[in-house]
Amino acid sequence: MAEPVRFAVDERGVAVITLDRPERRNAINLQMRDLLWEYLGAAAAIPEVRVILFRGEGPCFSAGADISEFGTAPSIMAARRARHDRDIWWQLLTHPCVTIARMHGYCYGAGLELPLFCDLRLASADARLALPEVTLAYIPSAGGTQMLPRIAPPAVAAHLILTGEPVAAADALRWGIVDAVFPPADLDAAVEAAIERALADPAAARARRLRLLGAADTHEPPAPLP
């Protein structure tokens, strides 16, 4: 069976990571989380790779985490350790590449949280964004409760997180949850242009994420520990 996350690197040094489980609206399961972890590691290890594009196959980016696997960890401690051992969210936040999310259709739950860790969020006018976790009595747990209030006005984040209701692409743009919105037919050209800009000036593309992280992009190795 084909893997539900695909990874390809082109001659420009652009890695395309595709969520490829359209029959389940690209719901992110444990296998996909592990593949994301591996591919993000690979992208960081290949010096030629300078930009990562996240996209979803089929009618949406991702409808969220695969709930059918919830509660399958042997214990809460095991679930917590697994998360810290393969912390793709921290890996994303500290990644050396420019990261771009191409958002269309449903971007719900983890399907919104993953883009929140990216440098640039480009959305189709048909995108719908939500953190619907409270509808099932859990909370966003792939960084949404912390990243959204740091990206959008905190009151907007509180509204989305507490109600679980979706917002349209135009609302997301007004509140800075996405950086730009395009007619569906124009999204790919806009993503391509953003990739070219990122390749030309990666430091500028990463500046906002590094500010959020509280780090400076000096291109110098960190000082050795004392």
């Binding site: 709930i67 917590r80 810290h84 921290w90 409270v134 509808t135 009595a137 912390q146």
Partner: protein, 210 residues
Amino acid sequence: MSAFADLLPPPPGADAAWLDDALEALSDGARGILIAADRFADAPRPPDGALRRLVLGRLPVIAWFEGELAGAALDLALAADIRAAGEAAALRGPAGWPARAALLAPALAPRLAAGERLGAAALFAAGLVTALAAPGGAEAEARRLAGVLRSRGPIALELAKEAVWRGLPQPIEQALRFETDLTMLLQTTKDRAEGVRAFLEKRTPSFTGE
């Protein structure tokens, strides 16, 4: 399932402790607090600590307004998690609580501090108001939102609210671990198990707050 409690304006001549008293008097079963902020124009300003109880307490708080809020009414509205406003509504600074204004809307805070009047459209654009209704429609929208929150898991709402307002002052690395730990704590609750079960069985979940 219990409803949202309406916060009642203090009687004339009440002292500044009125908000603490009102919060103490809330029924144990209240699922949230609704504030008709227009009605608090004459209320004495509560101390910061009482306003902070609204922000950091367990219950979600929704404020709505149609007119111009200033003084204590403005500070009460700022303490809410969610603000709904009619299109003719406005806020007039300065807020008695500049740090909250700066946290919620950094771009507008200096203008509020300068005593400017900010109309509903500007408040909505800045995300300080997140539900904008036709004039006269703010209360209906606030009550609709209260109904939405009432259908959600109460413990999840409590932890979601804590995650946002207690997480925001933390460095991001700590904040992300804080979120994970709240998530893990939530996994010990019956509501969380019920939510997953209901999803898989394609039915509406029935939360008990346990």
